[in-house]
């Protein structure tokens, strides 16, 4: 079964607004990664946060990790129509495989 669960399942916002997606997981992890998937395409890696990190930034992306609550959040600031996609968290427990969450579908309206 999938370890990660994302919330919300779907999110609709206007351009310029911020989008926040949350991910919860069940077991201890080595790191947590966020991926983006445009409709009908493969996934693209966005950012990785290690288990000993609490926050990480990359451009308009901000990721937080709370290992005590087994949760992470992805914030996209000043969203653009091109940010429309599905976003997945994936946890790495150092077992040669990633466990992906169920995803959040983000729609950004111009």
């Amino acid at each position: 079964s999938q370890q990660g669960e994302e919330d919300p399942q779907a999110l609709s916002i206007q351009e310029g607004e911020n989008a926040t997606m949350n991910c919860s997981y069940k077991t201890s992890i080595n790191n947590l990664q966020w991926y983006r998937q445009n409709s009908g395409r493969g996934l693209v890696h966005l950012i990785l946060i290690r288990s000993n990190e609490r926050e990480k930034h990359s451009g308009r992306l901000r990721v937080t990790l709370d290992t005590s609550k087994k949760s992470s959040s992805l914030l996209i600031t000043a969203s653009r129509a091109a940010d429309t996609a599905s976003y997945f968290c994936a946890t790495d427990s150092a077992t040669d495989k990633l466990i992906f969450g169920t995803g959040t579908r983000l729609q950004v309206f111009p």
């Binding site: 009908g40 990785l48 290690r50 040669d96 495989k97 990633l98 992906f100 169920t102």
Partner: protein, 113 residues
């Protein structure tokens, strides 16, 4: 630079027919390789992964199988397709470091009729 190829891009097959999806990676050696299936609007389900030639780990019991005949080639097969095998199949590779990301192929859309 590394690239990952999958083919075919789309496939329509009748129930009971065989399946062979191929994935190849260029520009890296000894990668971990993965097959995922994604139902419409859903997350990714890990089907198989491989840490080396001939080494296959199966995550979900089903009528699919995987093989790795060469270091950078990963094949997903079935002898007889079921309706429930329809979906979007993604291949991915990953380097050996535990802090490496996975790189995904473009996917194969399989429809079983």
């Amino acid at each position: 630079s590394q690239t990952i190829h999958q083919w075919p891009a789309t496939l329509v097959q009748p129930v009971g027919s065989p399946l062979s999806l191929e994935c190849t990676v260029e520009g890296t050696s000894n990668p971990n390789l993965y097959w995922y299936r994604q139902a419409a609007g859903r997350g990714l389900q890990l089907l198989f992964y491989s840490v080396g030639i001939g080494q296959i780990s199966s995550e979900v019991p089903q009528n699919l199988s995987a093989s790795r005949p060469q270091d950078r080639q990963f094949i997903l097969s079935s002898k007889k397709l079921l309706l429930s095998d329809s979906g979007f199949y993604l291949c991915a590779w990953r380097g050996r470091s535990s802090y490496n990301e996975q790189f995904f192929g473009p996917g194969t859309r399989l429809t079983v009729l």
